[in-house]
Amino acid sequence: MSLLQINDLSKEYVMGQQILRALDHVTLSIERNDYVAITGTSGSGKSTMLNILGCLDRPTEGNYVLNGKDVSLLNPDELAEIRNREIGFIFQSFNLLTRATALQNVMQPLIYQGVHGKERKRRAIEALDHVNLGNRMDHLPNQLSGGQRQRVAIARALVTKPSILLADEPTGNLDSRTTIEIMKLFDELHKQNQTIIIVTHEPEIANHCLRIVRLEDGHVAEDRSREKA
């Protein structure tokens, strides 16, 4: 059984008189340890899809089965639980808590899991070390560079050991060197059996992945797998 399965899924936005179909009857399944890039032109529905996969948003039609659970049947608290335990979400705009240090940001999801003080700190430090930020733990987000912020966001997504890592343009605001660094990190995570889905419009990044799903006006225009290099 697939780790993640969406069937005939649509998402509509109502804008006054107009109805905008951001996703149009999409069907897709993703296996454990897949390494998927979702590409497409701007406005093709990539973020919308990722938000639904990340249980942040709900589809208008169709269903979404994650780990055998039909997500559309869950209430807000159950969704929060899934976001907390199953999903690591890396936002395009980092979305760090501005008044909290890097360490506190990474510890935050563990608080919602009920992990206690020492253990929480230990795991957060481990995650920060993993992204090479062990020496910036007490910095506030605005005291960090863009790449460092992105790595804090990645550490926060990884700290709960989620079954899926979702990343929306994780290298969008980064220079090429940092981009390479981050992609190396993703490759490594993939080798450690992590399922990864990356939204990107950069072909180099997409080609780095093992499978490319191209969206066009809200539907899947292309879905091809690449042989492991």
Partner: protein
């Protein structure tokens, strides 16, 4: 659950500290409200305590008899009296009385002036007996108080308060001097110790004559209304004596069956409780007024919390996106308003007590402010209540935010 509470508490504290000055302004309403309650209550309680102590001088095994005119009678111009005849009746026909103290109050008499040389002063002239010293808690500075024989032999002697001495420019020790009361010369036999002021009322402007002398001086033509204070030998006799006195006076006053007494026989407890009732009423009224200010304070808190929720919409969105459940967000904001209120309550408590102390110290001879435990509990309880009631709405608003909407909020 406990874990969640501790975490919410921590982040609430964090956020309050992060907005230190705003937090202070937010709680100002609560601070002022609680301070006002505590100041008021502490002053009144201090007063009550002192007054109760003064009434204790009457002793627990005592009864008082005084006239009582119903409002209806008063409107019709009838005034009830307890007369010297009543006194005579009680002292001769009631058994078990240890002491009986008649007190002729000065309110209706023409005797209200004392002269010395060319000086004249108006004062409260009371007629009573030697037992009045205990009842009135009078301590002598010079000379002595009235004796039993002063009364039985109608001696023309008087005990005066410090204020009278000053007004008449009498010597420091006025004992032996003669003053004129009405048409008679009266010898000063004692000067009592100063008592100071209560409520700005001078407590030392009085002159006390023997009861029978007072009767003679006022010419016997007016029948005075007297207050009778008595003690009895056995406290268990109180009810019996009370009934007996009531019966005697009803007969003497010719009150028909079914009609109300035109006098009151009261224990000293009842006197105290009458006074306390007044103070309690004052406390409640003040409390009511002040509660309104607490309410306003609560609305202030709600307002700021709502602003704070809006301001932190994105932050809430992030927390929800990484897995915060509704109750976790709810608790964080609820704790924040609760803590704000408690903080305000505590500061108000200290401030109010300080104000009470300062106020009671500023008025001479005013009793020291006392904060009773119930007032502290009330203040804290009210703060918690306000925090919960006015915090729940903003907290619920935060908890129910949709994660994706909140994240999109600019």
């Amino acid at each position: 659950m406990f874990f969640d509470m501790m975490e919410s508490l921590k982040s609430a504290l964090h956020s309050i500290r992060a907005h230190g000055f705003r937090s202070f302004l937010t709680t100002l309403g609560i601070i002022i409200g609680v301070a006002a309650v505590i100041a008021t209550v502490s002053i009144i309680q201090g007063l009550q305590y002192t007054v109760n102590q003064q009434f204790e001088g009457l002793g627990t095994n005592s009864l008082s008899v005084q006239s009582y005119t119903s409002l209806q009678d008063r409107l019709q111009g009838h005034l009830s009296r307890v007369t010297p005849n009543d006194l005579e009746l009680i002292s001769t026909r009631v058994e078990g009385i240890a002491s009986i103290t008649p007190i002729i109050s000065p309110n209706s008499g023409t005797l209200n002036q004392v002269r010395y040389g060319s000086q004249v002063t108006g004062t409260q002239i009371t007629g009573s007996t030697y037992t009045y010293q205990d009842v009135g808690r009078i301590y002598m500075k010079y000379g002595r108080f009235l004796s039993d024989t002063d009364n039985t032999t109608r001696r023309r002697v008087v005990v005066i308060g410090e204020n009278v001495r000053q007004n008449l420019s009498l010597p420091e020790n006025p004992v032996g001097q003669f003053v004129r009361i009405g048409d008679e010369w009266v010898k000063i036999i004692g000067l009592s110790e100063e008592r100071g002021q209560i409520f700005g009322q001078n407590q030392d402007n009085y002159a006390i004559l023997p009861y029978s002398t007072m009767r003679t001086l006022s010419g016997n033509q007016r029948i005075p209304d007297i207050f009778i204070q008595m003690t009895f030998t056995d406290i268990n006799m109180m009810e019996a004596i009370r009934d007996r006195v009531t019966l005697l006076l009803r007969n003497a006053h010719g009150i028909k069956e079914g009609k109300d007494d035109d006098f009151r026989v009261q224990t000293s407890d009842q006197l105290t409780s009458t006074f306390n009732n007044i103070l309690t009423t004052v406390t409640i009224v003040m409390g009511g007024i002040v509660s309104i200010s607490l309410l306003v304070g609560g609305i202030g808190i709600m307002n700021i919390m709502l602003v704070s929720v809006t301001e932190r919409t994105r932050e809430i969105g992030i927390c929800k996106a990484i897995g915060a459940k509704r109750h976790q967000i709810l608790m964080q904001f609820l704790f924040e308003s609760l803590l704000l209120c408690l903080l305000g309550g505590f500061v108000g408590l200290v401030l109010g007590y300080g104000l009470g102390l300062a106020a009671s110290a500023a008025i001479p001879n005013f009793p020291t402010a006392v904060v009773p435990v119930w007032a502290i509990l009330l203040a804290v309880g009210f703060s918690v209540f306000v925090g919960l009631v006015f915090g729940i709405m903003p907290a619920a608003k935060a908890a129910n935010l949709d994660p994706i909407e909140a994240l999109r909020y600019e």
